[in-house]
């Protein structure tokens, strides 16, 4: 049998040197942004029971989860998402804690993607969950945090707002089966106008059907709100629209200006998001770099009903951007190489310790001769050699 001991599985990779620095730099900038706003870090297990991610409420395709079984034959998965585990954690260990809870995480998630498409199965993510509060203040708190976190890492991005209420309200007024509704939702999600028309043409042409037809086309800036007014026939829909409009203005005022856009046709993970949904895009990255929204029904699945909102940031995407823009500390050689003459190796080690205590980066040489140590220092670009014998001599190379 062919041995696979020299490669990593498809969809995974090793990170080296500047890649690690860029990734850590992104992670620490995001963590700082979260921490300064009062969010506390949690880490959840990499292995979870499959039941935590029940597709009925998680909206995660079971075929995308890496599965295995434990000693008792129960199905485990490699964490495909961080929100469900945090909901589980809150519902069990934090249920008596003062609300709202401000939590953040920096940990990878695992999804099995179709092969050879250039997608990663192991994705670095960072994000927050704000649990136990609803209303415009809570929503804006989370959006502000999203903007601040992204601003620290992405030079230019657009934040896009949507709301799950439009689709839900229109769907409510239409005489369609669950399967048909899923077809409609999927056509709207992919902005497949042709497929959407084909389905809707078979239905009685009511105001709701007309609204559904318009929904995926309603994206852009301020003008969308005027255009949307006609499809919001019910009082509830009107309320949703004016709520979103308020949020839109508030986010504009936060300094994003024209960089905030809306798309009423955002219908991702239907039944998971309950109210506002938001995402972010940046030039040069073909997918969203942030995904989030309000999911008020999730905690009830863990017998601890409470409103909640959160988002996850694609750390791999931001790392790529940081690498492209040189936004990280380039790896550099040690400042000093410490070489101990024969019989002075202990003295050399304590000299190195004294130097590192001052904050200098130094390596201790394992060479047999001073000439070897010098060659080594030159090849790595280390500019100073400290030779430790009876005395300590600094040699500049």
């Amino acid at each position: 049998m062919k041995k696979n001991n020299m490669i990593t599985p498809e969809g995974t990779r090793d990170l080296l040197f500047e890649e690690c620095l860029a990734r850590r730099s992104v992670e620490s900038k995001l963590a700082d942004a979260f921490r300064t706003r009062g969010y506390n870090e949690v880490m959840t297990s990499g292995l979870e029971f499959y039941d935590v991610f029940d597709p009925k409420y998680s909206g995660i395709n079971p075929e995308e989860m890496y599965k295995m079984s434990d000693r008792r034959g129960r199905i485990l998965v490699m964490r495909p998402d961080s929100t469900m585990p945090i909901a589980r954690l809150v519902a069990t260990r934090l249920k008596n804690h003062q609300l709202p809870l401000r939590l953040f995480y920096t940990q990878p998630v695992y999804r099995s993607n179709p092969g050879l498409a250039g997608r990663l199965d192991e994705n670095a993510q960072a994000g927050i969950e704000f649990m136990g509060a609803s209303g415009i203040r809570a929503d804006l708190e989370v959006l502000t945090t999203a903007v601040e976190a992204l601003s620290s890492c992405a030079p230019d991005f657009r934040l896009e707002l949507g709301h799950a209420g439009f689709f839900r309200e229109l769907a409510h007024q239409m005489p369609v089966s669950e399967e048909q509704l899923e077809d409609i939702r999927s056509a709207i999600e992919t902005k497949n106008y042709a497929a959407l028309d084909t389905i809707l043409d078979t239905l009685p042409q009511t105001a709701a059907v007309h609204g559904m037809r318009r929904l995926p086309r309603l994206f852009g800036g301020e003008e969308v709100f005027a255009q949307a007014r006609e499809i919001c026939s019910t009082e509830k829909a009107q309320k949703t629209l004016s709520y979103l409009h308020k949020i839109y203005h508030a986010v504009q005022d936060l300094g994003l200006g024209e960089r905030v856009i809306v798309d009423l046709g955002m219908v991702q993970r239907n039944d998971y998001y309950t109210d506002i949904i938001f995402t972010a895009y940046t030039e040069g990255y073909g997918d969203s770099i942030l995904m989030g929204g309000r999911y008020d029904n999730l905690l009830a699945q863990f017998h601890c009903p409470m409103p909640a909102i959160g988002f996850g940031i694609n750390v791999d995407a931001l790392t790529r951007i940081a690498l492209a823009h040189g936004h990280y500390n380039a790896p550099s050689a040690a400042q000093i190489l410490v070489f101990g003459e024969n019989g002075y190796s202990i003295k050399a080690l304590s000299h190195a310790r004294a130097l590192t205590k001052q904050g200098l980066r130094c390596e201790t040489s394992v060479a047999q001769t001073r000439a070897e140590a010098e060659d080594y220092a030159r090849s790595l670009g280390i500019r100073r050699l400290d030779v430790v014998g009876d005395q300590i001599t600094e040699v500049l190379l």
Partner: protein, 212 residues
Amino acid sequence: MKPLRIALTKGRLEQDTVAMLDKIGICCDSVRNKGRKLILPVGDGSIEVVLAKAADVITYVEHGVCDLGIVGKDTILESHGSFYELLDLGFGKCRFALAGPVGHDFFSGYHTKVIASKYPNVARNYFEGKSMNVQIIKIEGSVELAPLLGLADAIVDIVETGTTLKENGLAVIDTICQISARLIANSASLKLRKAEIEALVAQMEKAKEEQK
């Protein structure tokens, strides 16, 4: 501003697309006289055309290295992926069909049917929808050979006129779905370059209506 990049499926769809672009005033002479170049500026240079194989069009658009793509629905159904499907361009029309030897009832008998196809995912979805267990074999070339040689009971393939089927003693058993060329867009591109893309889509839509 970077030019808008459109990935174009080489071959027949390429000709139809070039004709459509010419019609809406985007001169495609550079595509007609392309030589060996693979990235070609068209019109006033605000658009670039990239020539690629059908499945690659989807890959390029999905990753956002091309903003738009023109590709057949057959390829979309076979490879999936996440992108926006903005427009049915109305050309490149044909259909997916299940076809088998003339005079033989495909659905008779108890044995598990063997299906040959260049489009295993389309075939799988079709039979899953019918709750039928079949054995699917991927064939790269002329799929019509498989039933003739006795390898398969039927084939799932693109049918245009049905002439090839007829000449080989095969006939359509069931139409799976209609196919035509589609305009697809990268999801980030559509949001970041909305005005440009929508203007182009509107022009293409108009050209399509006039064609009717």
